[in-house]
Symmetry: C2
Subunit: 460 residues, 2 copies
């Protein structure tokens, strides 16, 4: 089999079809041409074992799909404060996260197992008519189905980064930065009733400005949410990706607060109290807030900024050889739709527009894709997102300035933890550009925290 020659002939023609994808006339390194094809020579492993009745009623995964799981969060001590299992973004495709792989962040160690026939949802407080609904009643109301991301407030943040680094030092090799640092992030099609509709039924009084949403989990998680957000697009959701919510997502009822940090999306929702000011609940002022260098804290900053992440290749992957690959990633923003994603494969020197999966949903993942011919040399790859209002995802240095950092980066700044601490970057709502360092041997590792010093051009 003269594969080398066939390769060249085959791929030159194929590359022409790829020109429109901004790849240029680069020969594809994948696909092996056959000089003479003989079907009998093709090895196919077929095991005709019978599917079980259960497989047919409600299907599970192939027995070969053993590597894609939401693994426990880094941080040994975290098991004490709640359940944290993270989405394997390195294996994500398109814009839907399967419910089985949607990240789980819960303050308790257990999840309630609620009977939907007895669960009720109440609206009370500053309303003309306090109302209480069963699930069956809610399902008779006009519904909406919308694709939205959820992201934990701490995603990509200091604490999680540090915990991941420490776990790696201790020898934990089952979780990568793409999942362990950024995996508090998923995207689903949510179905439910617009909260605004139910509030109108209840008759919100004139002086009302805030809502206190309370869940039915063990710890009775509660959150102050602006009334204006509810009148805009909050969903009282009972469906996720075409079926009932999963228990880890608040079965049988949760809030979906599009574009707002995860903590607002109260699971197992049991009541909403309409009030005139936020309740300054312990969790929402002790955490989920950023301490500025002047000692003041910024409460109720909820909207997730423009953000993007290359999911392939990332530190969970290994490039087997030089040649053409497709860089794939996700971009999202709490404010409107993603308009543009640029990708750099040369450490931030030059940027190319990636193509965006259509249609683009607001406050949801947008999948971006860009062909890349890796020439086998060491480099850094990264992406940056721009939303429809021209908000641009910042570098880590820009983010530090944004959060009030007045100090010069320390020397040496190679230590993640020390840089973060000195820079006084928030542990919440972090959206810096994520850099992946590609080595000559095809291995990939996190580069966000060491690259900025080596390439001052990154600091715009």
């Amino acid at each position: 089999m003269n594969s080398k020659k066939s390769d060249r002939r085959g791929f030159l023609k194929g590359s022409a079809a790829l020109a429109g994808l901004a790849v240029g006339a680069i020969p594809f390194a994948n696909g092996k041409a056959l000089a003479a094809v003989d079907q009998r020579t093709i090895k196919q492993s077929v095991t005709p074992d019978e599917p079980t009745i259960q497989d047919l009623l409600y299907g599970g995964r192939s027995s070969y799909e053993t590597s894609v799981y939401r693994t426990p969060s880094p941080g040994a001590g975290l098991a004490q404060v709640g359940l944290r299992n993270l989405t394997p973004l390195q294996d994500s495709m398109g814009v839907i996260t399967p419910a089985a792989l949607h990240y789980v962040v819960a303050r308790d160690l257990t999840l309630p197992n609620i009977d939907p026939r007895t669960h009720t949802f109440m609206i009370h407080g500053m309303v003309d008519r306090p109302l209480i609904f069963t699930l069956e009643e809610l399902k008779r109301f006009p519904s909406v189905s919308r694709v939205h991301f959820l992201e934990c407030t701490g995603n990509s943040g200091l604490y999680h980064y540090r915990e991941w680094v420490e776990d790696r030092k201790k020898g934990r090799t089952d979780i990568y930065a793409i999942q362990g640092v950024h995996g508090r992030l998923s995207c689903s099609e949510w179905t439910g009733v617009p909260l605004s509709l139910l509030l109108k039924e209840a008759g919100v009084q004139k002086q009302a400005k805030w809502l206190i949403a309370e869940g039915n989990d063990i710890g009775r998680h509660a959150k102050s949410i602006p009334l204006a957000k509810a009148m805009d697009d909050i969903i009282v959701a009972y469906g996720q990706n075409g079926e009932a919510l999963r228990r880890e997502q608040g079965y049988p009822l949760r809030l979906v607060v599009p574009g707002f940090q995860g903590v607002n999306n109260v699971k197992f929702i049991r009541s909403i109290k309409v009030v005139d000011e936020p309740y300054y609940l312990r969790p929402e002022i002790s955490a989920y807030t950023n301490l500025h260098p002047n000692g003041k804290a910024s409460w109720y900053e909820s909207q997730v900024g423009p953000k993007s992440l290359i999911t392939f290749p990332s530190d969970a992957h290994h490039l087997p050889e030089r040649g053409l690959y497709e860089i794939s990633g996700i971009a999202w923003c709490g404010r409107g739709a993603i308009r543009r994603v640029e990708v750099s494969t040369d450490g931030g020197k030059t940027w190319k527009d990636a193509r965006l999966q259509q249609p683009i949903f607001r406050k949801a993942w947008t999948r971006f894709l860009l062909g890349w011919n890796w020439n086998g040399t060491e480099t850094q790859i990264m992406s940056r997102a721009t939303n429809e209002y021209s908000d641009i995802q910042p570098t880590i240095m820009e983010l530090a300035k944004l959060w009030g950092n007045q100090t010069t980066p320390p020397e040496p700044a190679s230590e993640i933890a020390s840089f973060w601490e000195t820079a006084a970057i928030s542990q919440f709502l972090n959206n810096p550009i994520q850099i992946w360092k590609v080595s000559q041997d095809g291995s990939i590792r996190d580069g966000t925290f060491s690259t900025f010093k080596m390439n001052p051009g990154l600091v715009r």
Copy 2:
């Protein structure tokens, strides 16, 4: 608790908010107002049983979700010819079908369990460069993720209807027409490589016009597909709803042929042979084809016509009381996008435009919704879809004419089977308007085959 009075006050205001949804000033019958709310009086069933490690790694459903399954197809004899488990459309929400509930129609009684590391996909025949790809290689090619429906060719057809009627007569009560007759239908976000790109790599020769796609299932299912369709939008798919294909959907690789009847979407795809004419394979000429009254058969009619179906309420549901409900359903078409769905709640006399879930995908489900105030009297509800080319979903009588029926409907036409047989309606590609008969007691049953005689206005 003066619930009656509170109800009236509460719902009058709420209904105003619904006016924009074409519901009019109709009081909502759902939601119970509370004169005085006391949180302690609200019963909440919380069982804090610990989720298992397995639940957290890859989540399953709530233990209360026991009624939503893809039940075996009607037709006692069918178990002999393959696996047939159908999607519970009565519980569908939005436009995504969970992979676990996607319908299964297989010609064999077993499904291959293929090792993705050894599976290969070959392109050969009239090409300059026969090519063979591993899954890993395919994943390096530019990919697309698109939402598309799949529908079995026989869905809603004569044989399945008759089998369902016969099963019901024999006392089988676990499957309704909405699932048993129409449930060979699902919709997913599919991810994979455009087949056109791979064909260009192989270099399709000038005289080529057709493809022969062959699967790696036990029976080696194969199908002739026009080359032009491949150059348009066929996907060689490895992903469904953000994860690897399920085994029932052809793991690790299948064709997705958007808008074409299910049989074309070859699962476990192992090879495509590029040829100059279709192969007239036994399955594609003995079945999947419509016999016209003149004795001629129309082969290779593949595109699914405009179609819609009210999924709630349908014969799997029961309306507990008169009052406001939301009619919910799906519309789809093999040719382009759905532009309009009309709903009649008076047996076809008048029609109202339903609102359509946005954005609308081409060759995919579109969810439609319309508020409906049921006054408690017997009626028929139905929907009809129009696509962007103004193709309109036909009545059953129009469909009979379309397929060449020249006869007058028989007297009496109350028997489904005899009408179908006399009318010579196709068993394939059936898209007539589905009528649901609502009785005074709130029960709902199929009305497509008896209503047309009672309401000549349906025959347009």
